[in-house]
């Protein structure tokens, strides 16, 4: 049985429908992410699990227990807040040990627990520091240690990395993931950063306007988005308006710039039939053909309209012959590869199997 189970959760703020009939199950030991743009209800959902928001409808159980009458301070959940909420008048050790105040441990046992928790987040020896004198990354670690010291069944993380700079954020992403494997506690992470969700999660629920748009593993989400909106939100996606026609038993797609080709049912996101539709293809599924390279797939010609050089990668905007708008394609930079300038003619190879068919816009 799932550790956390939500069924039919609805939440209104006045007339604003913040959560719409949310049902999902989170397994024990899972790293689960709620991903979506701001205002999509992901934080409200997290706070509902924590007990800071009361749903207007629906049932939430944690470890088989109905949480309707269990207040936030009695739930087997602990939370890392977006602002970290470090108690500024206490020391680091007092912050971390705050949750042990009501336990039966002796003073020495508590001190040992606090020391171990600080050690776990790489802050051994920081116990006597004043909490407000810490850097952003250190505050984040204190908040983690403080929330983990009670060994909750679920750790809830509300955008814990959004206040950190890029380098620190990347470091904390892998540390958090490692920590989660090490302690084996279920983590539920709220984030608006799709890359962060992909890197850290076992499963991701993408939310828009209070609803779950798609729930899948990172790979499935990236490779098989079930709607245009999810496809656009996760990573980069070229969207090309086109149409499909029935030809006997199979469907033929007509993609401006890429040509006509059969569409196998696997590529459809919603069983689309003949008519207007939108074709999606990721930038890395297309590549420029440089001299001497032998790529596979189909080939089309075009003109480079613009390029953005990122060091490791170069992103090209290519207007395909017969296409209506430029498509983006990403190329790994190799020593043997030149960087093309705008105006250069080029040939583009692409994988038909990477196509996805969405509804027309």
């Amino acid at each position: 049985m799932a550790l956390i189970s939500l069924s039919g959760i609805d939440k209104y703020y006045g007339t604003y429908h913040a959560l719409r009939d949310i049902s999902l199950e989170i397994e024990g030991g899972e790293f689960f992410s709620l991903l979506g743009p701001s205002g999509c209800g992901k934080t409200t959902l997290l706070r509902t699990i924590a007990g800071f928001e009361t749903p207007d409808k629906g049932v939430l159980t944690i470890d088989g227990r109905d949480m309707a009458r269990v207040s936030a301070n009695r739930r087997p959940t602990n939370m890392v807040f977006q602002s970290y909420a470090i108690f500024p008048h206490l020391t680091v050790a007092q912050n971390v040990g705050f949750g042990l105040r009501r336990s039966d441990l002796t003073k020495a046992e508590k001190a040992r627990e606090v020391g171990a928790a600080l050690e776990m987040v790489g802050l051994g020896g920081y116990g006597a520091r004043a909490a407000h004198a810490l850097s952003g990354g250190q505050r984040q670690r204190v908040a983690l240690a403080r929330a983990l010291i009670l060994k909750p069944k679920v750790l809830l993380l509300d955008e814990p990395l959004s206040a950190l700079d890029k380098k620190m954020r990347e470091q904390m992403q892998s540390e958090l993931r490692q920590l989660q494997r090490q302690v084996g506690i279920t983590f539920v992470l709220v984030t608006h950063d799709q890359e962060e969700a992909l890197i850290m999660s076992d499963r991701i629920a993408v939310m828009f306007e209070g609803e779950i748009a798609q729930l899948a593993t990172p790979q499935d989400l990236y490779l098989r988005p079930n709607s245009r909106r999810v496809g656009e939100f996760i990573g980069m996606m070229n969207l090309i308006p086109g149409r499909m026609d029935r030809d006997g038993s199979q469907m033929i797609g007509d993609i401006p710039g890429l040509g006509r080709l059969p569409i196998v049912p696997d590529l459809l996101t919603d069983g689309q039939g003949p008519g207007d539709c939108t074709f999606g293809i990721r930038p890395e599924s297309m590549s420029l053909v440089f001299n001497g390279e032998l790529p596979t797939g189909k080939f089309v010609d075009g003109t480079v309209v613009e390029r953005a050089y990122y060091g490791d990668m170069t992103y090209y905007e290519v207007l395909l012959d017969g296409g209506t708008a430029p498509v983006t394609c990403s190329m790994k930079n190799l020593v043997s590869r030149p960087v093309l300038d705008a105006g250069a003619r080029t040939r583009l190879a692409w994988e038909p199997g990477a196509l996805i068919v969405f509804d027309a816009a």
């Binding site: 924590a50 800071f52 207040s71 936030a72 301070n73 009695r74 959940t77 602990n78 939370m79 807040f81 977006q82 602002s83 909420a85 108690f87 500024p88 008048h89 705050f98 949750g99 105040r101 009501r102 004043a130 407000h132 004198a133 403080r146 929330a147 009670l150």
Partner: protein
């Protein structure tokens, strides 16, 4: 020099504001009983006379009693109001907060007369208690103004974090909120104490036979030969006010610094 005119204006303004107060100690140490220049000789006689007047001692005691009670009650009310304003949404919040702050701008004499009428109507005998009630009315807005700053700068997730870690609403208030707003509370206590100590109009109307220090001072002004003693007493009162307000502000700033917060300007 740029802004020369404004500079001169500012200096004249400050002189006009503070010169009369500076004259207090000047005449308090002057040996002549006539309050006029040129000064006679230096003396501390008037200060020495202060403790020898029983009526003065009584008035001081009454004033201290009233000021302490006023400070406690109005700060308690201020904590409740500021907490409610910072944390909760309720019907007519703006109106209610406005009404709490209103005595700040109401003419004191109107407040005093109205209270007098009410107390006489309900048969409450005039004395220290009625003065305390009046002072609480005018001190509470000051306390709310000071405490609002302290409560509003508190991050709500601090409370939620404490509750998340197993504390109840009350223990969260005691362990997290109270220590963090304590500098504001101290500041509020001291300012309410100082206002009550110095207040004259309400005390004059409502004190009955229990004269407070300012009311006693007012009475003494009828006797010209007592004027230097009044000056000496006035000097001490001004000194005490300045010291108390300084302590209040220092307490507030230290609180801000200790928690590593941005100083968003206190009441002073």
């Amino acid at each position: 020099m740029r802004g020369g005119g404004l500079r001169i204006y500012a200096v004249i303004y400050l002189v006009f504001l503070y010169l009369p107060i500076l004259l207090l100690p000047v005449f308090a140490f002057n040996s002549s009983t006539i309050i006029a220049f040129p000064l006679a000789s230096f003396t501390t006689e008037w200060f020495a006379e202060l403790p020898r007047v029983p009526a003065l001692r009584d008035a001081l005691w009454v004033s201290l009693k009233i000021a302490v009670l006023t400070a406690l009650v109005s700060t308690l009310l201020g904590v409740c109001a500021a907490r409610a304003a910072a944390r909760y949404r309720f019907a007519f919040k703006g109106t209610i907060m406005g009404l709490i702050m209103l005595p700040l701008v109401l003419p004191e004499i109107i407040v005093a007369v109205s209270l007098l009428v009410v107390f006489l109507q309900i048969g409450l005998p005039l004395g220290s208690l009625t003065v305390v009630l009046g002072h609480v009315l005018i001190c509470t807005p000051f306390c709310v103004a000071i405490l609002n700053g302290a409560f509003q700068s508190l991050d709500i997730s601090l409370e939620e974090a404490a509750i998340d870690l197993g504390e109840t609403g009350w223990s969260t208030f005691r362990l997290i909120i109270l220590p963090l707003v304590m500098p504001g509370i101290i500041s509020s206590l001291l300012i309410a104490f100082t206002i009550s100590m110095d207040e004259f109009i309400i005390a004059f109307f409502l004190s009955g036979s229990e004269a407070t220090l300012p009311v006693y001072l007012w009475g003494q002004l009828r006797f010209p030969q007592r004027l230097p003693v009044v000056m000496a007493l006035g000097t001490l009162l001004v000194l005490a006010s300045v010291v108390l307000l300084t302590i209040a502000e220092v307490a507030r700033r230290r609180g801000v610094a200790r928690r590593g917060q941005q100083d968003n300007g206190g009441f002073l």
